[in-house]
Symmetry: C2
Subunit: 350 residues, 2 copies
DNA sequence: CAGTATCGTGCAACCGGTTGCCAGTCAACT
DNA sequence: AGTTGACTGGCAACCGGTTGCACGATACTG
C-alpha cells in the first residue's frame, strides 16, 4: 500500500506535507547528520507514508552524477560474457547502481556509438574486450571514469585475465604428453587476449622446443571452429590450442566430421572454460575468472567514482590449466593419414 | 575534432553563440518545422561546431520520458537469454533507445526491486519469464508501459513462445518410435513456460496413449539435469522430455555417468534449441524463436510508447521439433536393468 | 553579559532541457 | 486601409532534485 497509486510523489509534496522546505527533505535523505534527529524522523515518516523515492533522473541532472554505469561487450551471445555480465550487474546492484548493457557486435564504430550514447547518462563505463583504438579509449576516458577489461593501455584502470599462465601450462602439458608440433587457432586480430595468448603460446612452445603453426578463425564461434578443422589438420600438428572454448568446441565437431577421434588421434585445448564439462569429451581448457573480473572491474569503477582521481591500476588475474578429456599422447601411426577424402584440397585462408 | 574537449556544450552555450533563445535551439532539434529553415540551419551549424548533443538526462526530467528501456531476465547466464538480450538491445538501438539490464536470479523479490529501481529512469519495461505475481505485474504496468515475454496475463502486452506445437511434435515423434512411457523433467514451478510445456506434453501423451511421469528439477541448470538422472531412470520411462536444453544436456551427462547410452538405451529431448548441434550426441529439441521474440517485444513496447494507449496484445510464436541425434526406438531388453550400482537407492525428491 | 561558535533550517539559484503563451512581422483578404 | 491569420522566435515557468549562503536560535567563551 504505497498509497498514491498514479503518479509518484515528489519532493515538494513531501515537503508540504511535512511542513518543511524542500531542501530539508533532500537533506533528510542525503545528509541526515545535518538535521536534527527529530526532523529526519518526521520527514522520513511522511516520505514513507507518501511512498516517496528520490527521482534518480532529477538527482542526476542536479548533481551531474547518475547512479548508472555502462557495460559494453563485443558479443552478448558469446558464452564468455553472460557470466561476466551477470556478475557485473549484481555487483553494481550492491552499490545501488543500474547497468546499461551494450553489444558492439565486435565493431569499433558501434562500440563508439554506444559509448557516445551512454556517456551522458552514466557515471562511468566498463569496456570489455574493447575493439577501440587506444586514442579513442583515451578520449572517452577523459569524459568519464572508464575501466578496461582485457585490454591493456598504460595509465588507465584495467583488469586483465592473464591467460599466459594457463597457456604455458597447456603447452607444458602437451609437451609432456609428447606433442612436438601444435597449432594455434586464433581469435579476433584486434583482441588483446588473442595477442596475449598467441605470444604466450609461442614463448612456451619455444621453451619446450615445440613447433607452432597458426590458423586464423574469422570469428570466435562454434561454426568458425568447425570450419577450420581441415586447415588445422593440414598443418600436420598433433594438437590444437584454440583461442577460446567455442572455437575448440567447434573444432571438436569439425574433427568428428572428419572422422578424427579426440583425444586418441588429435588433442584439443580450449581457453576460458566457459563450457565447463559440458562438451564431449569434456574439454581440457584454461580456467577463466570472469566473475571475479567483473566484480573487480565494478569495484574499481566505484572507487574511481568516489575518489575522483584517475589512477593507474593494472589488476591481473592468473589462470591455470584444467585438464579434462580432450588431451592425450599423440598417435604417430594414425597421424600419418589425416583422414578425410584424399582428393579434397585443404583451402588456405585468405 | 569536436573542439571543447573537457565539458560537454549545453543548450545555453549554443544559444548564446548563435544569438538566439534557448528555446530556439531546443526547437531546432525537436521541432525544426516551427522555425525558418535559415534559423535551423544556423543553429545546427553552431551546435555542430560546439559539439553539442542534447543531454538525455535533462530531456528526461523535462519531458518525463527517457529514451531508455529496461530488460529484466531471470538468469543472464542461462543460454536461452543472451541471444534474446542481444536481439532486444540491437532492436532498441534502432529506435535510439538504451537498455538497462536486470538479472533477477529467478527471485521475485529481486525482480521487484529491479523494476522499482528502473522504473524512474525508463520509458517502459520488458519482463522476460517474469516470476512475479499477476497483481505485482499489473501494479508495475500501471506506472509504465510493460511487455511480458513468456508470461500470459490477460489484457496486457505479451509475446509468447508456444512451445506447445513443438512439444506435441516431440511426443508424436516418440510415439512413432515406439515409446509408451515418458518422463517430464520440469523447470521452475512459477514459470509460465513450464506450465505450458507440461500441459502440452500431458495432452499430447494422452492423445497417443502414452504414460507420463514427472521429475522436478530445482533450477533449470546443467547440474540439476545431471543430478536428476537417477530419478529419471527410476520412473521406468524410456524417454525424457526436459523443460529446456540445459536440463537435457545435464541429463545427458547424468545418463552417461550412469552408463546409459543415448539414444540406444534412452531417448532425450530438450526444448529451446539453445545449444544448437553442440552437444554429443546432438540434441533433439524444440526450436526457439528468442531473437524474433525480443524484436517483437521491443517493437510492441515502442508502439505502446507512441500511442499512449495500453492495449491488449497476445503475440504467439509457434515452434517445431528439431530432430537430431538423441532420440531412437526404445530398447526393451536393455531397459529392464537401469544400470548403476544395484545397491544405490534412488532418492525421491522432497 | 556581550561576543562568538555551532546547529538547524529555509531561501533561492542552479542543473539542462521543454513548452505554453505571447508579441511582432508580413502577406492575404474584405 | 483595416482586419485577419500564418509564421517566427522569445519569455518564463516548469520538471525534481541539490547546495551555497544566510539567518535565527542556542550554547559556549572570556
Amino acid at each position: 500500500m504505497t498509497g498514491s497509486g498514479r503518479r509518484r510523489a515528489t519532493i515538494s509534496q513531501v515537503a508540504e506535507e511535512a511542513n518543511v522546505a524542500r531542501s530539508t527533505v533532500s537533506r533528510a535523505f542525503t545528509q541526515p547528520e545535518r538535521l536534527s534527529d527529530e526532523t529526519v524522523k518526521h520527514v522520513l515518516e511522511v516520505a514513507n507514508r507518501l511512498g516517496y523515492t528520490p527521482n534518480p533522473v532529477a538527482q542526476a541532472l542536479s548533481t551531474g552524477q547518475s547512479k548508472n554505469i555502462a557495460l559494453i561487450v563485443p558479443d552478448v551471445a558469446n558464452p564468455f560474457f553472460p557470466p561476466l555480465i551477470q556478475a557485473a550487474q549484481r555487483k553494481a546492484e550492491e552499490y545501488d547502481y543500474c547497468v546499461f548493457l551494450g553489444d558492439s557486435d565486435e565493431q569499433p564504430e558501434r562500440e563508439n556509438q554506444l559509448v557516445e550514447r551512454f556517456t551522458h547518462q552514466v557515471a562511468g563505463l566498463i569496456l570489455v574486450s574493447s575493439r577501440l583504438s587506444e586514442a579513442q579509449v583515451r578520449e572517452h576516458a577523459r569524459r568519464r571514469p572508464l575501466v578496461l577489461v582485457n585490454q591493456d593501455f598504460p595509465e588507465m584502470l584495467r583488469v586483465l585475465i592473464n591467460s599466459g599462465a594457463g597457456v604455458a601450462q597447456a603447452v607444458e602439458h602437451l609437451a609432456e604428453l609428447g606433442h612436438r608440433h601444435i597449432v594455434y587457432l586464433s581469435g579476433p586480430a584486434t583482441s588483446w587476449a588473442n595477442r596475449q595468448r598467441r605470444t604466450a603460446l609461442r614463448q612456451a612452445a619455444k621453451h619446450h622446443g615445440i613447433e607452432v603453426s597458426a590458423v586464423a578463425a574469422h570469428k570466435p564461434t562454434h561454426e568458425a571452429g568447425r570450419g577450420s578443422a581441415h586447415q588445422i589438420l593440414a598443418t600436420g600438428a598433433t594438437a590444437a590450442f584454440a583461442f577460446d572454448d567455442l572455437l575448440a568446441q567447434g573444432l571438436l565437431a569439425g574433427l568428428a566430421d572428419a572422422g578424427i577421434s579426440v583425444p586418441r588421434q588429435f588433442s584439443v585445448i580450449g581457453c576460458d572454460d566457459v563450457l565447463g564439462a559440458t562438451t564431449y569429451p569434456p574439454l581440457t581448457t584454461v580456467s577463466n575468472r570472469c566473475v571475479e573480473v567483473a566484480e573487480i572491474a565494478v569495484s574499481l569503477l566505484m572507487d574511481a567514482l568516489r575518489t575522483r582521481a584517475a589512477s593507474d591500476v593494472r589488476h591481473v588475474l592468473d589462470t591455470h590449466l584444467v585438464i579434462r578429456g580432450t588431451t592425450a599422447a599423440p598417435n604417430p601411426a594414425l597421424h600419418r593419414r589425416p583422414a578425410g577424402r584424399e582428393g579434397q584440397v585443404v583451402q588456405r585462408s585468405n
